[in-house]
Amino acid sequence: MSKVKSIEDLMKIKEKALKELQLRDTGKRGKITVAMGTCGIAAGAKETLKAVVEALAENNINDIAVVQSGCMGLCEVEPTIEVRLEGQEPVVYGHVTPENAKRIVKLHILGNQIVSDLLVRKGEM
């Protein structure tokens, strides 16, 4: 990393990273965010992350980015993931065990259908 020397440098980093965050011009159709806070990990978020990655690979899906974040504060329903598809409201799922992660990939990512029994929240925060 080179040093930031001016507000212009800062703006450049911002614009580039914003694209990634909002999936603009990245060729991706959506992203799955796995909450990896302490309680997420304690509840098995690492296995969830692994299952998400595997399920995407098994189904030959490569236009969905998988990213990690801090926890969303929904400790009671950890592990949690957020599914964000282009042009749609983000959806947060709870109790995402590896099996549930696979279901979400099948139903939501492939079938464009919300997995209602795992739904925690829909819409922007």
Binding site: L10, T38, V67, G70, C71
Partner: protein, 543 residues
Amino acid sequence: MKPILVLVSVDSNSVLLGAKQFVNYLREALEKYNLKDSVDVLETGSMGVYTQGVVMAVFPDDVYYSVRSVADVEKIVSEHLLKGRPVLSLEIPRERLKLVVEKEKVTEEVRIVLRNIGVIDPRSIDQYIARDGYFALHKALFEMKPEQVIETIKESGLRGRGGAGFPTGLKWQFTAKAQADQKYVVCNADEGEPGTFKDRLIMEGDPHSVIEAMIICGYAVGATKGYIYIRGEYYGSVENIQKAIKDAYDYGFLGENILGSGFSFDLTVRLGAGAYVCGEETALLESIEGKSGRPRLKPPYPPTNGLFGKPTVINNVETFANVPQIILNGANWFKQFGTQGSPGTKVFSLVGNVVRRGIVEVPMGVTVRELIYKFGGGLVGGKQLYMVQTGGTAGTFIGVDKLDVPLHYESFRDHGVSIGSGVILAMDEDVCPVDVALNTMEFFEHESCGKCTPCREGTRLAVEILRRMSRGQGKREDLDTLRQIAITTQEASLCGLGQSINVPLLSILDNFREEFLAHIGATACPRGVCRFEKPVTKVKTRV
């Protein structure tokens, strides 16, 4: 005070309808008509649910207007304020008005300190920058003098989120004014409060917000070195903070000559070892100095005599996390949230028997009822709520009669309900106040560092009495003795630990007095929780 007051509602809904523009225009118009000295303009939160326009109220005339354009503002100024003729066409009719003002307030989540949590990858400094990260630092360094930074924080009304609610700007000012060759900024990330994990959430999920704030603070007060004191068990926080510090150095936000401004600041992490008292600011400073974590005698206070005897600002993680947003958006923006005396939001940890345990950030002034039922989803198994402890272990125990008290830094003084570090512990009908009081005092007995007698002995005595009571051997005088212990310990202890045990103890004794009395001379715990030793008759039914 000026003779006329105009209140403009600038809640999120009104902002969409143009409230900000209208306020700006209003100020200009007052200038134009030379009314500046006779009219005060105040931006407030929501004045009720009203979707037809922005609500603007003129006092003392008590006229409410619905404003939809700057032309409406112009009319109100030129007709009503200048000539004293209310603009009937814009008035909200009285029958509608009732609805407007009496409509029950609904608290919604507002994310200031948690704005990035779960949104960005905390290990990516670029993503933090994408969400305006380090723009506040740039603004402070290049567009503001240190005094202006302090003025802004003071003006915002930000108060310490670590529990005591001390005005942050004032604290910074004390340190700024102190003369010394070296000053420090310390972040209290010890989070020893049972049930709280908001600071961990912030450090794990948005570590740069704390780092950016500390650099800004250093610039404001003239400090060049900072420490983040993190509880040792917080592995995830330590890891993310350390990675963030490294990235901030690489980008030149830390170190020599930050962004070419000439200001330099270094930041390091120190690990705590999990003693509750180490969260007390002077004990924490001792611990950073490499001594054992025992509190110091105060005064002198840290802002003038802190780390290594030098002027030191010490703030909680959540307090710091507010700072970049205040610098970026201004004090007035911050003041639109929360209450007048306690602006902004608070991160609450909902624990105990609630359905959705977890973290929620809402404006100050939220009620306990809203926290438990709206955000916490009510009680597990549909049980009855019996008792709530607000504010953490050193906070107040309240019954269901106090659920509608708005929580802010005056709610303890005004209503006996403390906000503390924001823990809301909900307890259902299966608990017994005597047992709860015993548990609480055992905690304090265990965590008392033993440096001073009132706290060491007071907590021990309280535990002894409560233990006896919970075995069915309580006496009537015990209640008075417990009160006395609470008061003496509070008055005579050295540090905040001993000085605050009166809060939980007195509140539980007062609010649940009947239950305590019912334990005395009874044959079994009236709530079926405590195990009485004698007599052996088993009573299973609950009263």
